[in-house]
């Protein structure tokens, strides 16, 4: 087992070696990566040729099939190359149903060489996994240490007790168990009994209260969904705006679970995920009847609706309107839904109890700039002496604002 110092050294060396290896291969591959992602990735995968998107997948094999010179010409303006009667180019043109690749006349030779360098190298490796494994090791170590300390303490206590008992036997004093001695002490101090009883009763009541107040509260409810959709990947890593999929949140009471056609906006072309591969994305295709290989919808397909499990269940008696909060009040999604962009699997972040609602209504100021309030605002300045006007001050806590 290594010492903490050595493990640190190990991590440092590990990172250094990776960074060095990337640095060594070619600096232009990093520039190439960003160029590839902006210009090429919507039609080409970085991978074997069979992984087709619109065009073929690209990897180091292309350098075996084509000369660099040909590649430069093709990338800059493939149509020109086809017209010039180049045999290879025309074959490719026919193979891909006469779909012309977008021309990039503004690419400099350096840009193209950077992109090609990136293609040659293939996708960069993910480093996170190895560092995580190091972390696990260190936590293992610390718990072992704790066990050792615990064993030492227990050993010491039993040693002391043994010594004490031996001394007592030697002195001829009657031995007394721990229980007997503590009972004797309690008998001498009756107030402890009263205090203890009160403590037990009250903690029992508090326990009951706590238990009862969780009835119907589904905080942290995290059901398994039919598709392992990750908000982390979509909203977090890729930074897709919440409103892109949940667009009705601005206009309707429901934020709305996006319909599958919204998924298909992107997933017509993105057929494979980083974690679950094709498994989960194929579930959308199964629902709408899409064939990812031919990129066409299967005619007369019997569509299968996706049955999501609802996480946030307000009772029917409470009326909640997303647009009121998102659009009018400008509340961030995260205020109620928590760090949604970090959730692999969504759970209920807030309690969704009435107390929770009301607290927010007590604290939240209204937007007095909204022309809806203009005339009223003048009255309020006199009435509330210019203090902040919160939702509850204008009737935001009246029953039938939410219950009707």
């Amino acid at each position: 087992m290594s010492t903490p110092l050595s493990s640190f050294r190990f991590i440092f060396l590990f990172f250094l070696s990776i960074a060095f290896s990337i640095f060594c291969s070619a600096q232009d591959a990093i520039v190439g990566e960003s160029l590839f992602k902006t210009n090429c990735s919507s039609c080409h995968y970085l991978g074997p040729e069979e992984k087709k998107l619109i065009g073929p997948g690209l990897d180091s094999e292309i350098f075996e099939e084509h000369t660099e010179e040909w590649l430069y010409k093709w990338i800059r303006n493939s149509a020109e190359l086809i017209e010039s009667g180049d045999k290879v180019a025309n074959e490719l043109y026919e193979e891909y149903n006469k779909a012309v690749m977008t021309a990039f006349p503004h690419f400099s030779d350096e840009d193209i060489s950077n992109i090609l360098a990136y293609i040659k190298e293939g996708p960069s490796e993910v480093v996170v996994d190895s560092s995580e494994s190091v972390g696990v090791n260190s936590s293992d170590e610390s718990s072992t240490l704790l066990y050792i300390i615990l064993i030492i303490i227990i050993f010491n206590i039993s040693l002391l007790v043994y010594v004490k008992n031996t001394l007592k036997t030697a002195a001829g004093i009657q031995k007394e168990s721990l229980l007997q001695s503590s009972l004797a002490w309690v008998q001498l101090n009756p107030s402890v009994i009263v205090f203890g009883a009160i403590l037990i009763v009250f903690s029992g009541m508090k326990g009951c209260w706590n238990t009862l107040s969780t009835v119907g509260v589904a905080q942290n409810y995290q059901p398994e969904q039919p598709i392992a959709f990750s908000h982390k990947i979509h909203a977090g890593d890729n930074g897709i705006d919440c409103n892109y999929c949940h667009h009705t949140a601005r206009s309707s009471k429901h934020a709305g679970i996006p319909s599958a056609n919204v998924c298909m906006n992107c997933h017509t072309y993105i057929n494979e995920g980083t974690i679950t591969g094709k498994d989960e994305i194929n579930k959308i295709y199964a629902a709408v009847g899409f064939d990812p290989n031919t990129r066409t919808y299967i005619p007369d397909y019997e569509e299968q609706p996706i049955e999501w499990v609802r996480i946030h269940n307000l009772p029917d008696l409470a009326y909640f309107d997303h647009s009121q909060h998102v659009n009018v009040a400008g509340v961030e999604c995260q205020t109620c839904h928590g760090p949604i962009e970090e959730m692999e699997e969504v759970y209920q972040y807030s309690k969704l109890t009435m107390g929770w609602c009301i607290n927010c209504h007590r604290e939240t100021e209204i937007d007095t700039e909204n022309p809806y309030y203009h005339d009223l605002h003048k009255n309020w300045i006199d009435k509330y002496h210019g203090e902040e006007v919160t939702v509850d001050m204008i009737g935001g806590m009246e029953c039938a604002k939410c219950h009707y």
């Binding site: 996006p258 599958a260 809806y372 309020w380 219950h403």
Partner: protein
Amino acid sequence: MKEEKKYFNSLNHDTDHVNGANEFDEKLSVEAMMENADTLSASSTTRRDFLKFLGFSSVAATLASCEAPVVKSIPYLNKPEEITPGNPVYYASSYFSENVFGSLLVKTREGRPILLNSSHNPKFGGGVNARCQASVLSLYDSNRLKNPMRDSSEYSWKHIDAEIINQLKNTSKKIVLLTSTIISPSTRSLLELFKKTYSNFETIVYDTISKDAMLSANQKSFGSRFLPTYDFQKAEVIVSFDADFLSEWLDPAHAKQYTANRKPENGKMSRHYQFESLLSVTGANADKRVPIKPSSQQAYVLRLYDALLALTNNQSIKSTKTKHDNLINQIAKELWSNKGKSLIVSGSDNTDVQVVINAMNMLLGNYEKTLSTTIKSKLYSSKNEDIDSLITDMNDNKIGVLMFLNTNPIYTLSDSDRFKNALEKVKTKISFSESLDETSMFCDYVCPDTNYLESWGDLNPYTGFYALQQPTISPLFNSRQVQDSLLTWMGNTVKYYDYLKTFFKKNISNNWNQVLHDGFLNKISDKKNAPEDYNFSEVMSTRSQATKSQIEIQLYLKSSIGTGIHANNPWLQELPDPISKVTWDNYLTISPSHAQELGLKNWHVSNGALDGDMVKLSVGDKHLKCPIYVQPGQTHGVLGLAFGYGRENAGKSGSNVGVNAFSLYEKFNRNQIAKVSIEKISGVHEFACTQNSHTMMGRNIVKETNFSDYLKDPKSGNKQFLLHSHKGNVKPSELTLWDEHEKDVHFWNMSIDLNSCTGCGACVVACHAENNVPVVGKEEVRKNRDMHWLRIDRYYSSDMTKERAKEEGVGAIEMYKKMEEPASSENLEVVFQPVMCQHCNHAPCETVCPVAATTHSREGLNHMTYNRCIGTRYCMNNCPYKVRRFNWFNYAGNEQFDYNMNDDLGKMVLNPDVTVRGRGVMEKCTMCIQNIQKSKLDAKKERRKIKDGEIACACEKACDTGAITFGDVLDKDSRVSQEKKNPRSYYLIEELNTQPSVFYKTKVRNKKV
């Protein structure tokens, strides 16, 4: 004490029958359970085991309930662009059923139509009556056919089409389509096309309620068969002979026109005389109402004509004297001084009477002023003889294929047995009925038509006025629009939608999208027929000698059920009749004096419910057993019976309710005069009536004045109530224990103009639809457990007043006794008052709630929080307006209440923004707070102020006559702020100082002084 108690029962209904021992007549069924003593003792379960099971099961149930259920959320796979879950989408469409046209705005949520609003189209089609409002629930009727049928078993369209085409091609006899009036131009052209394919095809129009008399009268007078359109707004004097024009005569849009000229603020008001036999909604609104027998209507009409002729120095037609000659002469003078600004109408089924009416309107120069021959109404067109000749043809084996579209003759024909027998001779019978009704039961093929909310269509209800109908939901079932069926059978592969669009663009308007958006197209030209264009012939045919008889009967239409098409609609069944306030029934109405003469009674049982005697009614050789209902205001010697009941195949809510009055509708005459008799039979009928006190007992509930007094003093009839106090005589609001509520955001108020309310009940249905108000059924209504958040109180005037009692020296007890009696038929006046939660600012209900479940908002509303309510009902008992409704049962989850809320399909009409209340909570009008909140939110989102009129309660939107106005009184310019300043405004029971947010405006009648 016992004497005093009697005051609060209506004396009209005998209280002697109240049986104290009857109070707890429903006992627990303990005995029934103990009767099974053998099985009890034979059981191997001991008492201890039983307790163990009990303990185990309750613990298990408790544990199980801790686990929250897993709720699934299923989004669209491919979301339609226009739908945003949670937001409504509106479509303009049109309604045409029972010869009533309405221009609609359909509110849909997530693709389901949930509420119908009037599109408030300026001139035509305001006819969104109670039945039209409720028709959205008929869309979700579980009784609708799910598949086409052949010989009472389900069948596929493909096979049905093949078989029907075969039948059509191979018949040499006539192919007949029996339909109600078709006002769709494209359908008419489609039928012509059908005739080209099948030359033996013929269309026969059969309207359930016939207007043949008017059509024929115009044929005689003008040489063409048509109905004119009326403009009651322009009429200063209106004389109506038995025409219930505010409700069921020709077009419900008349109510809007009528009330537009009944606003005293304008300094003028029309004067309305009504001669009628029964008490109709129109009669209840009249300034002077004269009860006459149906048989004497003709004499009155002729007498009036004679009086007019006398004024114009024309030759007299020598009419006979009537009981009201003075009144008739006075009316004639008024009419003459309002030439061109008056209107005479009649509901008579006698062509001769209608001819005289035409002659009078012509004499008064009303044509092209208050009624138009330029703009014709196309809502009715049937000829009475047509159906007879059809039956003859059927009997003569001349008909090979008979198709039924929007007709149900086996239910609606008076001699339905004859029709049934004739039908057996027709080889192929095809029905397009949406559900399996009385007629489609006898058909070989039922090809269910789509509901109008699922269909395309064009309508041309008036000359030059076009409307479009568009689907607001995909067909729920495997049904097919009738036009598509016809196209298929012609061998045409075009879809009706394409056909319609092409037709519309070619013949009506090129601007399809705009018309579809607006819902209607007004192409009415300003050019009017000039009087000299008329070829008016004053044919006074041989005057038929009116036979009179001791007892006559008149059949009428209730605004709730109509002709019975919507009989299976529980909202309509539970909608109280505007006059009698009875739900779930039809009955024989009889005048109080007549009932007394015959020894017939209505009485109240101990829980306040109404019971009545049963009679056997005989008209010729027809006999019906029905209950009697004593109806003040009705003419002595006349009986009334409503159409639309007694259906055998309507569905779970509509079947076997009441008796079928169509069996008496002989020769399409609503008045049956000869050989009518009634005979009391044993048996007691239990009514479900929502209002059991008939008069105001001298209280100032509905304030009323006469127009002449109003002109002198706009506050007349609206005397401020003053309390005698240490400060002198003060307004109740000046003596108060409570602090004012803060009102600095909005202060919502509602104004109800009693002068514009006709009592029709459309608002009550709209409230049901908007607020998920449950239907409770006849038994519960009988126990006064009806759930209407909004009710319309109807009060009769009484001949006794406090002043009169003082003059005549009548004692207090005797006076109150007399006050309970509605006035005699001649003098009776009726007032309507819609009452919902008054949203008191010093609310008696709020102070008594032990759990603060009902609280006040700073916007002037009285909030009711269902989830906090524990059901003590203190609030209900402390409410002086009796507007709180207790949810006795879980109406939405209790199979005993098998109405729309307990039906998977019926649940689709529920408004998702309003809680479906559970058992044991109080509920009441919220002023449609969901709409208030929605509009406030919209304004905040769009960063603007709320516009006046933007927020509308369901009742306000449903009110064609604009009696209800809602708005913010903190907004000085709002309509409701102006109304509040109106001298006619008053608070209901102001002396209690509840300071309501709802206020009423005095009723003003324009009586001749």
